[in-house]
Amino acid sequence: MTITGIAAIGAGLAAIGAGVGIGKIGGSAMEAMARQPEMHGKIQSSALILAAFVEAVALFGVVAALIV
C-alpha cells in the first residue's frame, strides 16, 4: 500500500473519532436541553465550543493526511 493510501485511512480514522466525539456532545446537549429548557442558550453555546475542540483534533488528522 502506498503512503497516500495509509494517509487516507488515517484521515478516515480521525473522522470516525470526531464523529463519535461530536455525537456524544450533541446527544448529551440534547438531553440536557430537554431536561432544562431554560438553560437552552448556555448549553447550546458550550456544546458548540466543545464540538470545535473535538473537531480540531480531526482536522489535525486531515492536515497530517494532506501533508504526506
Binding site: S45, L48, I49, A52, E55, L59, F60, V62, V63
Partner: protein, 366 residues
Amino acid sequence: MTLNTFKSAILSALFLATSLSGFANENSDTQEDKEFNAKDMIMHHVKDAHEFHIITLHEGKENQKDISIPLPIILWTDNGLVTFMSSEFHHDDTGHTIVEKNGMKFVKSHEKIYQLNAGEDAVEFDAEHHPTNAVTPLDFSITRNVFMMWVSILVLLLIFIGTARRYRKSEDNVPTGIAGFIEPLVVFVRDEIAKPMIGEKKYRRYMPYLLTVFFFIWINNIFGLIPILNGANLSGNIAFTMTLALFTFIITTFSGNKNYWKHIFWMPGVPVPMKIFLMPIELIGIFTKPISLMIRLFANITAGHIIILALMSLIFIFKTVAVAPVSVAFSLFIGIIEIVVTAIQAYIFTVLSALYFGMATEEEHH
C-alpha cells in the same frame, strides 16, 4: 426593523446558495480532450495566485480567452527591486513565458516565480523539486489573497463608518439603517462572548480586538463562498490564520497576571512532584492554544472549499451529465452548511480568544 434585517439575511443566504450552483456552468464546457484532473483543479482554486482569474472562455479552442484582473508582482532580487504586472505572463503558469526586466529573466511555474540564470530559457527541477538553473527571488507580490484582504478591509470600513455616521446623526441613539444590522452583532459579541468569558470588570479592554477579529474573519469567510471571486480563499490561507492566532497569543501573553503564570509554572493545590510534572505540560499548552486556533480556522474553511469543488468534479470524473443533479444538490446542501460555518468559525475563533484572555486575567479565588 428586526423583521426586515432578518428577511434580508435570509434572502442574502439564499442568493449565496444559488450562486454556488453557478460553479457547474462555469466548469461545464472545459477540457473535452484533456484528461480532467480534480486534484489540480481544486488546488488551483484553494491556493494563492498572482492574478485574479475570473473565467476562461472557449477553453482549449483557438479563440481561448482568459478574463482576469492583473495584479502587481513585486520581487526583491540580487539586483534590487523589480516590479511588473502579472498580465505580462499572459496567464501562463507552466514556466514557458519569459518576462525580461532589468536584464533578468523571470518565469512563473505553479504560482511560483523563478529568476532564470544567464543563458537559460526554461526552468528545470531536480528530484526534490528544487530548481537547478534558476533562483527564487523574494516575492512581495500583491497576490489575490492580499487583494481580497484589501477589498474586505474596504468593505468593513464602509460598513462601520456608515454605522458610526448613523449614530452621530440620530439624537436618541436609535440604530437606523445599517446600524440596525450591526448593533445586534456587536451586542452579541459583548454579551455572549466577552462578558461571560472575560468577566464584567475587564472585558472592555478586549472588545476592540474581539470585534475586529469576529467581523474580519466572518466577512472573509463569506467572500470565500462567492463563486465569481473564484477562490478568494483568504481565511483558508494558513499564513492569514497564523497572523490572527499570533495576535491572540501576544495579547494573552502580555495580559497574563501573576495568577496566570503561577498556574503555569507552579500549579497551586497539588503536591510538589505533580507541580514539577505539570510545568512542561502547561508550558507546551501556551503554544498549542494559538496553534490549534490557526489550524482550526484554516482547515475548516479549506475543507469546505475542497468538498464543494470535489462534488462538482464528480461530474467530470464520471464524464456524464447524469451525475450532475446529485452533485449539484449535494454541493448546494454543503454550500448552505458552509454559510452557517462562516459565522460559526468566526464565533469560535472569537470565543476561544476571549476564553484565553479570560484565563490570563482571572483573579485568584481560592
